[in-house]
Symmetry: C2
Subunit: 204 residues, 2 copies
């Protein structure tokens, strides 16, 4: 059979991607299989491979849209923030990040769990999307750093992002540890308060 051409290659990719995103969020990584995606768009597995090469490539693409959604959430958080003070903006970013994970836990898991097989590299557009997120944090720290301290500022942005990510990541995997149960927002506040106190102390 074949040559249905009900859809152009571009349409097909979009349909598959949308199906994959929906499966990702509903079923998590374990349910995101080539056969399931193909089934949902009404094409055979073969077509999926012809479209994306590999299931890993499809997942990378899904993660790309997750990064976009994350970026949008952070942008919106900044827009809504009622101040340009770094503490305020970063706290708003953190809250938006936590909220994003709360709303889309499975997509967030897949974003950070997925690893390409040994020899393979993430595409350049992927790093650009990551960079955009970091630039957002970096920019909000501007008031705390002199013009000749761009490197320190970039490093601080990265450290904050790592810290927040570590809190969320360990919390979600249930490996934050033990009974007591400080909450994610608690730990985040502790991180930000102390880290900013450190930044301001050193600035003096």
């Amino acid at each position: 059979m074949a040559r249905r051409s009900d859809h152009s290659r571009g349409e097909l990719r979009k349909m598959a991607l949308a199906a994959a995103e929906s499966i990702a969020e509903q079923e998590g990584a374990r349910g995101l299989t080539a056969r399931e995606v193909a089934g949902r768009i009404g094409y055979s597995v073969g077509t999926l491979y012809n479209l994306f090469g590999t299931l890993d490539d499809l997942i990378v693409e899904v993660n790309g849209t997750t990064l976009d959604a994350l970026y949008d959430s952070l942008m919106e958080a900044r827009r809504k923030a009622d101040s340009d003070e770094p503490e305020t903006v970063i706290a708003a970013f953190a809250a938006a990040y936590i909220d994003f994970i709360d709303r889309q836990p499975n997509r967030w898991d897949i974003l950070f769990e997925h690893k390409l097989p040994k020899g393979r590299r993430l595409p350049n557009w992927y790093f650009e999307k990551l960079g955009r997120l970091l630039t957002l944090l970096d920019g909000s720290l501007a008031p705390l750093f002199a013009a000749d301290q761009k490197r320190d500022r970039a490093r601080a942005a990265r450290v904050l992002w790592c810290g927040l990510h570590g809190i969320c990541s360990l919390a979600r995997s249930g490996k934050l540890g033990v009974v007591t149960g400080e909450s994610v927002p608690d730990l985040t506040e502790a991180l930000l308060t102390t880290y900013f106190a450190g930044l301001r102390a050193r600035a003096r």
Copy 2:
């Protein structure tokens, strides 16, 4: 056939666990399959299931020994540290943690990537092993906190652990972002320096 009883149930478990650890480190999560473990100890898959119930349970057990190894590495780092100053000890812990990941990347990946299926909970001994690690950090912060600030101290320990973990985790997944490439030790030092500056500033 069967009833070989060449080995007791306990011996069998130990053999399987050892085989699984070796596969985990050599091949990573993708190679750690029931058939492979069974093959290496010379028994059938059925026996493995009779021993561990589920492959997930075997992996949890493997992760338990990874947590033990991590604990040992940190203990050794503290023993070797030439001071009890929190900054020094925590830096030594961080270096040991980074070194551990460097030496056993696949086992570390499995430790933090593995998630039990939806309804299942990690066993209690697992949380105890995690708690032991946190207690180590917590204890080393004692000089910075008054006796009635145990909660703050515990929170600080957790935040540091999350921060370090976030740095290592994003670095390993290639998602730390972008060209510049601050190294893991660089970011770790930035985290510790600023965070401790914050702790000391607030103490005053």
